[in-house]
Amino acid sequence: MEKYVNEVLQPKIQGDGGWIEFQSFDGKILTVVFKGECSKCLILHRCVEWIKEQIKTDLKKDVEINAIRKRPYFQDV
């Protein structure tokens, strides 16, 4: 799962100025940290849904995602 987040999802997210980091996976809940543009995205939940779909398609796993935003304190949005 970590490899998938780092190697498959991360390049796509980064291509849009976003950033995703694997934090943990307990077999059911995948915890990821969103930074960069993702951290202040108003519709991040849609992206999280897409990530779930991707994992289901590529890894054949149903996961719940715990999305943690780390927004720089100096950004006002």
Partner: protein
């Protein structure tokens, strides 16, 4: 007693007008027919024209579906039979979207929709069968083209909900009235206009709205409202505005920023398509587009659109501007790089359109080196445009908008620093703001106001042009004239005797961090600039024609000098792309440089002092490679055998002080120097912290990668000494002392080298950098009394004041230099020579060389990772010129290579050979000479040479080269 705030709940008349304006806009479309058979296929762009598809085939796309994925490109298609009720009418395609979509109809790219515009005209592309085959290529970016457009901002994000695509007819009466209201409401809401006029507008706009029956489905009264505005509002000329504003249509296109370079190909396509369509509709519309590189991508990948563009160029509506290949950063690239920007840029325009341009168009560049006027003038450029000094300076108001810019060597070009931003949407308030901010009202002629969405392209809209067509009807507006960029410059600046002169660099009082951010890129750029020099010289000497290959590689370097690439203000994938490009360029240049049996000095002066030559059995280490420090003595442009010497006895004593032939040094445990006593000059160089690593908290706010703030010294973090400084390597020529420093997250190895035969003290820094919001500097407090420092520009030096008497010096607390900076008294001083650092602070007797930053926006992990870089401390007698610091710094940066090439020509000393290359027409050898010590003189040659400009046009012939301070001279020798 409770205090009750009274809130007004009833609507003010102007709010009532706004509300009805919103309703009016809902009636722009007369009829809408939904396209229900759209199919979509998701993909991701992997190169300029290659896509990795996520599915084998297309799937249906219906209203309400999610579409677009992170960094995704979507291909959307549909075949549409135009419904009978719409046939024969003026038809439009409408798609409200957050994405950037290029639209192909019946096999031809015809237009675009994006967050700034939702419709495009279809009628011209309807075929005899009344069918439309749509093919769309859309990409959705989390960062819209233009963040200043609130509508764009509100819909940003990678996953979007499809709102449907339609074929429509437009109610032009409503649309016209909407544009009228758009224009007048902007004035009514702007405090820049006369208060009484705004009250008049608020009153009369309400009256006009009263004529429309919003309760009726037909929206009756639109014609009457339009008539009312014409007869009451536009006819009122009691309120007189003033001013004379030139409106230049332009779209700023960052080649890479929050997107990769590969995406700029389609951003440019969409921008151009949109402007071409506007030109069809509005014959008076002229659009100004820069960067020959993006024209090249259009020509290569979309030749049909390029042919159409060429027609519009020939017709005078589409105006290529900007002599430079891209809009480069104008601080960090060397003089030769900036020359190549002009050479390849002008060459591209000449080939495409049969003409060069006479302007440099650099609206978004982060300050401009003082060497530019000469480079521009000698590249056929008389006019310079750059916005940021007026709109972004954080301390001082730049005193001119239209002026003459005098360069370091005295060359002058006409310059325009427009008073306001280069991205506006042609609103009256923006135009008024420009006029009010314009300083040179009495001397500069018209003021330049650019309009058009940008950053990621997009450009002008119908609305911007429609508003422009109404400006003449408003007496309260400044006089406005729409024109091209070159036309503005020639009309207002050419032969204008009233223009004031700015004699100095165009320092931007902002973005001071861009001299340092992405340290590895800057070092690679410097290294490659010198490798290009070697590769071209050796190609000439060996009579090899590598022109095409070198041009291809040079262009790649130049693209990466774009002002959001080399400065470091971009997302992580852009960094990876650049580093991959640098690797590729380096491999190819190394292949061209080749090898040989002897060491060849490509410098046009004697290579003396010390050099490091790699040798796997060597007794010294530098940049992780074994080798030897050797004393070289190789004449200019010649070769020699170089060998490490056997021991000649002890030359170093290590005790409480380290004794070398030149110095008695007292080191601190952390590698800083407590005392550097010069035995030869009998003086102490240290007065305070010297070679002291300092790491500051560096939190500049939203412009994270761009800025260093003046308060950066407020918080310094603790640096631990993990391993105290001790001797770790010693041979016959050099001795290296090592200390290991650390912070909570980073490890910093400092290697300090002293030499038997050199006055230089080299410091290598091997860093595992894992910081956030930090700025590392090496500080040198010198026992030198001087109020100025000399800073290399790569083609001469600038004298910068080191005192802080006025706000102008205070604002320049961090500035850009190239290979060296120096603070000296008349009989001695210290130069700090670097191999890829550009940011430096100069504060009284202290030099602080910026080494590394750690910013998190736009790149979350900017500069995190491994770094290895060197600088050289060079105390010297007399001043920097007499001490030949230019020569030493050249040698420090120019790798000693192996080659069996031979040269029998002139060495042109005391000028520096900046480049030697085959001419673009392959008939000459071109030699670029640069005066870098501020001297005047002449060189008598035994033969005549052609005198060239930087575009390699022959301008004369002579056997004498006369030069003046800081002049760059290009000559040609027939092959």
């Amino acid at each position: 007693m409770a205090h009750i705030k009274v809130v007004r709940r009833s609507m003010r008349p102007e709010e009532w007008t706004d509300l009805r304006f919103g309703w009016l806009k809902r009636h722009i479309y007369e009829a809408k027919w939904e396209i229900k058979n759209l199919m979509i296929r998701d993909a991701r762009q992997v190169s300029e024209m290659e896509f990795e598809y996520y599915s084998e085939d297309y799937r249906p796309l219906n209203k309400g579906d999610m579409y677009f994925t992170p960094d995704g490109t979507a291909f959307i298609k549909a075949d549409v039979n135009i419904p009978e009720e719409m046939q024969g009418k003026e038809l439009w395609f409408s798609l409200k979207t957050a994405a950037e979509i290029c639209v192909k109809v019946n096999g031809k790219y015809v237009g675009g929709v994006d967050p700034n515009r939702e419709r495009m005209l279809l009628s011209p592309y309807v075929d005899d069968k009344k069918t439309l085959h749509f093919e769309m290529m859309g990409y959705n970016r989390s960062k819209p083209d233009d963040e200043r457009n609130p509508e764009s901002l509100s819909v940003r994000g990678c996953r979007q909900i499809f709102e449907g695509a339609y074929i429509c007819t437009v109610n032009h009466a409503v649309q016209d009235l909407v544009w009228d209201f758009e224009l007048l409401l902007d004035i009514a809401k702007s405090e820049l206009f006369n208060e009484d006029y705004r009250a008049f507008l608020n009153r009369e706009l309400n009256e006009a709205m009263n004529l429309i029956d919003f309760d009726s489905d037909e929206l009756s009264g639109v014609e009457q409202a339009k008539k009312y505005l014409d007869e009451v509002v536009f006819a009122n000329d009691n309120y007189k505005g003033s001013g004379d504003v030139a409106l230049i249509a332009h779209s700023h296109l960052d080649i890479a920023y929050y997107w990769r370079r590969i995406h700029a190909v389609q951003k440019n396509l969409r921008t151009i398509l949109i402007q071409l369509r506007l030109m069809d509709k509005y014959p008076d519309f002229k659009y100004t587009h820069t960067q020959p590189y993006v024209y090249e991508t259009l020509e290569k990948y979309y030749p049909d659109v390029f042919e159409e563009l060429k027609e519009k160029v020939a017709g005078g509506q589409f105006e290529p501007v900007g002599a430079m290949y891209v809009e480069p950063d104008c601080n960090v690239p060397s003089a030769e790089s900036l020359i190549r920007q002009c050479l390849y840029g002008q060459q591209t325009y000449q080939r495409m359109f049969g003409k060069r341009v006479n302007n440099a168009w650099l609206p978004d560049v982060f300050g401009n080196s003082w060497i530019l006027p000469q480079i521009l003038k000698k590249s056929g450029v008389d006019y310079f445009v750059s916005n940021k000094m007026s709109t972004w300076n954080d301390t001082n108001r730049f005193p001119h908008n239209n002026f003459i810019w005098r360069g370091l060597d005295g060359t002058e070009v006409y310059a325009c620093v427009p008073p306001t931003h280069f991205i506006t949407w042609n609103m009256p308030s923006q135009i008024q703001e420009n006029w009010e901010a314009y300083i040179d009202k009495d001397t500069g002629g018209q003021t330049m106001n650019m309009f058009g969405y940008g950053d990621g392209g997009s450009g002008c809209t119908e609305e911007m042009i429609e508003l422009m067509h109404r400006f003449d009807k408003l007496s309260v507006m400044p006089k406005c004239e729409h024109m091209g960029g070159a036309e503005f410059l020639e009309k207002n600046l050419k032969n204008n005797k009233s223009l004031k002169v700015w004699d100095g660099e165009l320092y931007l009082e902002m973005h001071r961090g861009t001299f340092t951010t992405k340290s590895n890129m800057k070092r690679a750029n410097r290294r490659l600039e010198f490798k290009f020099r070697n590769a071209e010289i050796l190609s000439v000497l060996r009579k090899e024609d590598n022109t095409e290959k070198i041009t291809e590689l040079y262009k790649k370097l130049l693209i990466n000098q774009f002002h959001d690439i080399l400065p470091g203000s971009h997302i992580n994938p852009v960094y990876k792309d650049a580093m991959a490009d640098y690797d590729e360029i380096e491999k190819e240049l190394d292949r061209i440089i080749g090898s040989g049996s002897r060491y060849f000095n490509t410098l046009n002066f004697k290579r003396e002092g010390i050099d490091f030559i790699p040798n796997k059995n060597g007794t010294a280490t530098r940049y992780g490679k074994k080798g030897n420090w050797v004393v070289t003595n190789i004449p200019a442009m010649s070769s020699a055998n170089v060998r490490a010497l056997r021991s000649k006895g002890e030359w170093l004593t290590v005790g409480e002080r380290v004794e070398t032939p030149f110095y008695s040094i007292k080191f601190n445990k952390n590698g800083s120097i407590a005392s550097l006593y010069d035995k030869e000059l009998e003086r102490e160089w240290v007065s305070g912290d010297f070679n002291k690593l300092k790491i500051y908290t560096d939190c500049p706010g939203n412009y994270d990668a761009w800025d260093i703030l003046p308060n950066y010294k407020d918080k310094q973090i603790e640096i631990n000494v993990e391993s105290e400084l001790e001797l770790c390597e010693k041979d016959t020529e050099s001795a290296t002392f090592k200390t290991v420093l650390s912070t909570e997250s980073s490890k910093w190895i400092m290697l300090i080298r002293v030499f038997r035969k050199s006055r230089g003290i080299e410091v290598e820094n091997i860093v595992d950098w894992n910081e956030k919001h930090k700025l590392a500097k090496a500080e040198f407090s010198l026992n030198v009394l001087s109020r100025e420092a000399l800073c290399d520009t790569s083609a001469g030096f600038i004298k910068r004041e080191t005192h802080k008497n006025t706000s102008w010096q205070q604002a320049r607390f961090e500035c850009c230099h190239h290979k060296w900076c120096d603070i000296s008294e008349t009989d001695g001083g210290v130069a700090i020579i670097n191999d890829g650092k550009y940011g430096v602070g100069l504060d009284n007797n202290t030099i602080s060389l910026s080494l590394l930053r750690a910013t998190i926006r736009p790149d979350v992990e900017s500069d995190i990772g491994h770094h290895d870089f060197c600088y050289m401390i060079m105390p010297h007698s007399k001043g920097a010129v007499e001490a030949k610091i230019n020569n030493i710094a050249y040698q420090y940066n120019c790798e000693l290579i192996k080659s069996d090439a031979q040269y029998s020509g002139e060495t042109f000393e005391p000028l520096f050979i900046q480049a030697m290359k085959m001419s673009e027409n392959k008939k000459m050898t071109v030699i670029r000479l640069s005066e870098q010590n501020g001297a005047r003189g002449k060189i008598q040659l035994p033969y005549k040479v052609k005198l060239l400009n930087m575009l390699e046009d022959v301008e004369g012939e002579s056997d004498v080269i006369e030069y003046k301070p800081f002049e760059i001279i290009t000559i040609g020798l027939d092959n």
